[in-house]
Structure formats: C-alpha cells, structure tokens
C-alpha cells in the first residue's frame, strides 16, 4: 500500500486528523515558543504570586509570580524535543538493526529477537529511569534514555517487514543483478515499512511525552530553569493547598498531547487496515 493512499484515508479519520493538526500546532508553538510567550517564563514577580487567571495572566501565576501561560508554552518545547528523540533515535538505530537481523536470518536473527523481546518486557519507565540514573540526571540524558527505550519496538517492526520483503521476487532479482544486498533491502523496505513506522512513531510521541513528564516530575528530567510540564506539576503539587488549579494547566497540556499521539496512531492504523475500524 502506498503512503499516499494511507494519507488519503487518514484524512477522513476526523478525530485523528484533528489530533494531527493539534500536534502540528504544538510543534510550531514549540519552535517559536520564545516569540509567543507574553512574559519571560522564568521571570519572577514576588508582588504578584498565585494570581488568578486574568487578562494579563491568562492562566494566573505560580508561587514565584511566574506567568503560567508562558511556562506551559515553553513546556511544549521539552515535550516535543522528547518526542523527537523518541522517534529519531530508534529510527536511526532500531530500524537498521532490525533490517540487518531480518536480512541475515538464522541464529543471529533468533538471538536478536530474544533480546528485543526481553527488553520490550521491561516496563519502559523503569528502563528509562535506570538509563537516566546511569548517564547522570539531566534533561538531555532523560531524553536519550527515552529514545533508547523506544529502539526495540522499531527494530522488531523493521525486522518483520524485512522478512516479508526478503522473499519478494524483485528483491531476489535485484540480488542476481548484482545490487548490494543491504542496499536493496533498504531501498525496498523503507517504502514498505513507512506506514507501520508512522503508527509506531505517533504512539511513541505519547510514550515520550508521558515518560518525559514523569521523569521531570520525579526530578530526573528538566532541572530548573528548564521548564517541563512534569516539573510544573510537581511544583504545583507542593502548593496544592494554596491553589489546586495550578496542576490543571500543565496536566491538561500533557493529557491532550498524549491523547493526540494516541489518536493519530489509531487513525493511521485504521487508514492502513480499514478492517480495524470498529474502535
């Protein structure tokens, strides 16, 4: 199935398409965040702390008088960066590993699959936590950890596709005509693998945002003055007696982004295989 066809059907999945637009907007916001924020998100104003929402502070201010809206906007950067890590790292490491394993087959493939299955069995957050701890606590390392955790899924996907494509006659004939085997694989697998990889990538956006906010929440991701929805929620929680509303804004932002990633994934899945359209 061509990617064009998938896209055409995807567009008719309304919820998924709206979610896709939402993610697109979030990404644009993330790129231009410093231009959009009405205030310096880290500027304190101790004369105006825990202010209620108003025209000047749409979401109010926190305990240090910082503008919550500006901070939520800046938080998109961290979330989108984490998502990019969770897509680019596995794409550039997992996919090649999967293709090579699938192509070589035999015992190497067996061993490879065992390893992948075993790692997938480890709850993602635990793995990310361990890797972050080892690399040293920082937002950068947390994102690398999130990316590493996502590798096995992509590897498994790529391997599955490779096994399918490997037996196709055009690959065989390419081999006979002297094309480099690995090159041939890549050339034929990349287009075939694109739809499922897109699904996995959008699901990974959800995972990345959840993992990043969780790690930041635990103090193992964003470090002040870096801004993450997770650390915002954590700070808000310590102030929850004073103003429970503070947890709402970053929480809703996180939930919406995660949801959007999931919806896009669902929509793509249906677009690839319309039989799934049931819920």
């Amino acid at each position: 199935m061509s990617i064009k066809e998938v896209m055409r059907r995807f567009r008719s999945e309304r919820l998924a398409f709206v979610s896709f637009i939402f993610l697109l907007i979030i990404s644009i916001v993330a790129i231009f965040a410093p231009l959009i924020t009405p205030y310096n998100p880290n500027a304190q104003n101790l004369s105006n702390i825990l202010a209620n929402p108003s025209f000047s502070h749409w979401m109010g201010t926190d305990n240090l008088g910082r503008d919550i809206f500006s901070r939520v906007i800046m938080g998109t950067r961290t979330a989108i960066q984490a998502s990019l890590f969770a897509i680019i790292i596995p794409l550039s490491i997992g996919v090649p590993i999967g293709i090579i394993a699938g192509y070589l087959g035999g015992i190497i493939d067996d061993i490879f699959m065992r390893i992948v299955d075993a790692i997938i069995a480890i709850p993602g957050i635990l793995l990310a936590l361990g890797i972050t701890a080892a690399l040293g606590i920082s937002l950068w390392n947390a994102m690398i950890a999130i990316g590493i955790v996502a590798i096995p899924q992509f590897a498994r996907l790529a391997r599955g596709q490779t096994l399918q494509v490997r037996t196709e006659p055009y690959v065989e004939s390419a081999k006979i005509s002297g094309a480099g085997p690995i090159w041939t694989m890549f050339k034929h697998i990349i287009p075939n693998i694109s739809p499922p990889v897109l699904v996995q990538a959008s699901v990974n956006i959800s995972f990345a945002v959840l993992a990043e906010t969780s790690l930041s929440f635990l103090g193992m991701g964003a470090q002040s003055p870096q801004i993450s929805w997770g650390s915002m929620i954590q700070q808000a929680y310590s102030m929850i007696n004073l103003n429970p509303w503070l947890i709402v804004y970053p929480g809703v932002a996180t939930a919406l982004t995660v949801m959007a990633g999931n919806f896009v994934g669902d929509g793509l899945r249906v677009a690839i295989d319309p039989k799934l359209k049931k819920l």
Partner: protein, 314 residues
C-alpha cells in the same frame, strides 16, 4: 502433560531473564567517565576508590563481572548499598510486600472495573453506561498517572477529606486502614490499565458476540446475559489476557511515580530515592527484582492463556 508444558515455558523464560539482567547490569557501563568516581564523588580518597573498584569487581572483564554479579544475585546477594551499607537484597525484599499489595489492588481495580465497563457497555448498547465506557476507553489511556493521582488527592483528600493524601498501612496491620490508604494510589496506578482493558475487552466482546457460535447459543434458548457470560466472555478474554499481563508490568513501572506521590514506602520509592542519592547498587537491585517480577507475571499470563484456550495443546 501440563507439568511438561510448564517446564517448557519455564525454560523459555531463562534467556529472557539472562538478557534483562544483563541489560540492568550494563547500566553501569553507561556511567560516563570512571564509574567509581561518579559514584563516590570527585573528592573521594584513592583508597576508597580502590576499595569500591574491588567491591564492584570493576577490574575484571565485563562478562566476568556480569557472571559474578549474577552468581551472587542468584544467591540473594545483590551487594551493599553504597549510601547506607545495607544489603540491597534485604532492603528491596523488605519493601516488596508493600508494592505488591499496591499493585495487586490496582490490578483488581483495572481488571474489575475494565471488565465491568466493557460488559455493561456491550449489554446496554447506546446507554449511558455505554457512553461512559467509550469515554473512559478513549480518554483514560492518555492520562498521566501522576496527574490522575493529584486530581484524586485534590478531590478526595483536600476537598472531601475522605481519604488520606499520603502514607500507607499494610493489610497485615490494619485492614480498614489499608483500604483507606491504598485506594487512591491503586486507582491512580490502575486507571490507565482500566481504560485499556475496557477498550480492548469491549471491542473483543463486540466482535465475539457477532460470531456464529453465539448465534448457535441463542438458537438453543440462551438469554443475552448467559450468552455474554457463558459464551462470549471467555472467548473475548483470550486476547485481553495479554493486555492484562502488560498492564501488570506497567503498574509495576508506575509504582515509581505513584509511591513517590503518596509517600508509600515500597520499591518504587526506593528506586527514586536511590537515584537521588546516587546509590547505584541499590538502584540496580530494585530494578532487577522488579523486572524479575514482571517476567514472572508474563510467564503466568502465558500459562493462563494456555489454560483458557483449549486450542493450545500442552
């Protein structure tokens, strides 16, 4: 026959155990620079560094190190905490009971409510319950567990004052206290699983209820309830068993966050504390034991699946 089958599955688990433990062990390789310096801090004395090096066996090749570590681990020796000097194995197992209680209740919540919502939504299509179930299954899976926890705390602890916001009482101490303290964390931990199970079971049940054999059941004079419970549910549960197994693993992972929020003295909290204290051996130990737990649960899931599906030959 069944015993042989168990054994075969058990043997299949061994490589998984080896690989996951190797992964956990090799975290140490990721530590940038000299791990011992990283562990002990820049101003550690050279003797201390040498001692630690010896203790961690860092002078041997990595596979030997892993072999030694594994050998010790099998004997319940996961080394000593760098921070407190306490044996890691005891520290972790001492806290395991708490985490286990929490995870168990959270799984009861997610499986119980998930099945309830899925079944009522299939039995009463287009009813209020159906819409609630669909709403939950769409939104629930996307809510961060720590955020759910906070909303629950704001509502049930701070506003209504019904349940405590922090703390934990073991079921062995005080049953009423246990349920009071475990309820909010268990719901926060199980919410995502509940949503996923609702969604998965609902679609699976809807599909099964359209199957030929359900029509056969109706043609025998079976009522709708009976057709769902006696004929639909067990078939529909088959694919969901795997989902439940995955949910278990996620719940165990989620304890890291939830135990921190609710100040529950379990293994999740221990993991977070040991990271913040740079207690690497402790972290390794916790993660290792939690992963072994997850693998055991996956194994049980496999067995349950085989027991539920007669088409799988032992």
């Amino acid at each position: 026959m069944f015993f042989k089958f168990l054994l075969r599955r058990l043997i299949y688990v061994i490589p998984t155990l080896l690989i996951t433990t190797l992964v956990v062990f090799s975290f140490i390789l990721l530590i940038p620079g000299d791990p011992v310096v990283a562990l002990l801090g820049e101003n550690a004395t050279p003797e201390k560094i040498a001692q630690m090096r010896e203790q961690l066996g860092l002078n041997d090749p990595i596979l030997v190190q892993y072999g030694n570590w594994l050998l010790h681990a099998i004997h319940g020796d996961l080394g000593k905490s760098i921070f407190t000097g306490q044996p890691v194995f005891e520290a972790v197992t001492g806290r395991l009971a708490v985490t286990f209680q929490l995870v168990f209740i959270s799984m009861l919540v997610s499986v119980g409510l998930g099945m309830f919502f899925a079944i009522t939504s299939v039995y009463f299509p287009n009813s209020v319950m159906d819409y609630i179930a669909r709403f939950i299954s769409i939104l629930g899976a996307s809510l961060p567990n720590f955020w759910v926890a906070m909303l629950l705390v704001v509502f049930f602890s701070l506003t209504l004052n019904w349940l405590p916001a922090t703390g934990f009482i073991s079921i062995t101490e005080n049953t009423a206290g246990f349920f009071k303290t475990v309820l909010l964390p268990a719901i926060s931990l199980g919410a995502v699983g509940m949503a996923v199970i609702t969604r998965h079971l609902r679609s699976s049940l809807l599909e099964v209820m359209g199957a030929d054999f359900v029509r056969t059941a109706y043609s025998k004079g079976v009522s709708r309830w009976r057709s769902i419970f006696n004929h639909g549910l067990r078939n529909a549960m088959l694919p969901v068993v795997t989902t439940i197994g995955i949910g278990f693993g996620n719940a165990i992972g989620g304890t890291v966050v939830i135990e921190t929020i609710f100040a529950i003295p379990g293994t999740g909290q221990l993991a977070v504390n040991s990271i913040l204290q740079r207690d690497f051996t402790m972290l390794q130990g916790v993660v290792l034991i939690l992963i072994v737990l997850v693998i055991i649960i996956n194994f049980i899931t496999d067995i349950v699946y085989a027991l539920l599906d007669p088409r799988i030959e032992y």
